[in-house]
Symmetry: C2
Subunit: 260 residues, 2 copies
């Protein structure tokens, strides 16, 4: 119909058909290829990025030009959004973070921030960044969403692990609130629920890079940081590891956010 | 935890545990009973309402007191909300309404309003209320969300039928937009999708009475109507049938909105 822009021309978000990645194949949609290889074998792009490279040739749509004076070891952490843009917890809200990492821990103002993780060794570290309570599902017989900690569910939940079980828990514990799926699952799993579970005004939201529009938002964030309008201290504190490029494929199980 | 109100004391929505209906059993949660019977057999409450009665004894939480001067045959249609409060289509957006009835048809400002229904006889009537295009899934080999009409999906979809297939179609056709589930499905069906389908910033929202808070919102809407601040003409036009109380269990397949 005349006058209706097709998806690739809308500016609603950063996912236009022309440039969008193919999540099934880890390649760029416009030519079906990846941009990296090792010994002639392609290295596929996780979520269309996997940009651990100093030199590459990529589509202009995948480039965000930032202020050249910006310190790259600081502004590289500008990846928040899922909690702030999508879950939008308000002052006094309770928030459950499944896999309390840098994405989920950009919460502020919430009365309770409940970290849920199978690895209890992450709890002490996460406490420094605002997590007020911890749940290790292994310590409980019932699924976490059936626990009595929240007395009727949390206001927001953010799922950062990609585990289908954590996704279902995150959805079910947001009783009449917002559940945000950040983690990337495999194509082989199914999210299954009864539609009646949505009736409680429950919202299930997916997000891609925290609903940021990288080409416009990242340069703006960098400018705000350079102008001291953006407080990165909280996010900088989340950097638990700095690893050299050669060692970037290794990571620690206690890692919250690593910069390469 | 001290200071955290349990769900039944929050004012976020109208679904507090104390008063909430039991959707599985069609009874009131606080005593597990229905409020109506015929020949000694209980009549269960659909969504806790089913209030076709002139006299009854109900919990105070189920009552909304309105201006006694309000004309009941007009203000009885004050049931909108799912589209306006939840889908929130913007000017120029495309909207798909699965089961184009009074709930979905309170859309305004959208560039395209696509009605999807298995009953083609509803199309001519719905056109009068703003629907610009029609799809009867029976006329197509592919599921409607795979059709080429929308060139990449609609901005909003509203599912008003309760059919699980329509729910999945509504979700999948809202490519990177908002899908709203209004219809009430049976407890036996499962909504099943791959979580990767959420990554496109896709939102799946449930709603209960259009996210209105009846005890406070309905009296306010009535006041706005009485003060001529609320335009009911569009909604009044949606009344296709007026049936006497004795005939209220019968309805026409072409009915859009009936008042009793």
């Amino acid at each position: 119909m005349q006058g209706v822009p097709p998806l690739q021309l809308r500016i609603k978000n950063n996912l236009c058909d022309l440039l969008r990645i193919n999540t099934d194949k880890g390649c760029v949609i416009n030519d079906g290829k990846s941009r990296f290889s090792i010994n002639g074998q392609p290295i596929y792009h996780f979520l269309g990025t996997s940009t651990f490279s100093e030199f590459t040739v990529i589509h202009v749509g995948h480039v965000a030009k930032i202020n050249p004076a910006a310190p790259l070891d600081k502004v590289c952490v500008l990846s928040f959004g899922a909690t702030v843009n999508v879950a939008k917890p308000k002052k006094g809200h309770s928030v459950a973070i499944f896999g309390p990492d840098a994405i989920g821990l950009t919460v502020s103002g919430a009365l309770r921030i409940i970290g849920v993780d199978l690895n209890s060794s992450r709890f002490e570290e996460a406490k420094k960044y605002g997590v007020t309570e911890f749940v290790n599902p292994k310590d409980h017989d019932k699924p976490v969403q059936q626990g009595e900690m929240t007395n009727g569910g949390v206001d927001c939940s953010v799922e950062c692990t990609g585990s289908i079980q954590a996704m279902i828990s995150a959805f079910e514990c947001a009783h009449d609130g917002v559940a945000v799926l950040v983690g990337v699952s495999s194509r082989d799993v199914a999210f299954k629920t009864n539609p009646v579970d949505f009736l409680n005004e429950r919202n299930l939201n997916g997000t891609f890079f925290g609903n940021n529009r990288p080409r416009t938002d990242i340069p703006n964030f960098v400018e705000q940081y350079m102008n001291k309008e953006l407080e990165l201290k909280r996010l900088e504190k989340l950097i638990t590891h700095s690893v050299p490029f050669s060692g970037s494929t290794k990571h620690s199980s206690t890692c919250c956010l690593a910069r390469v």
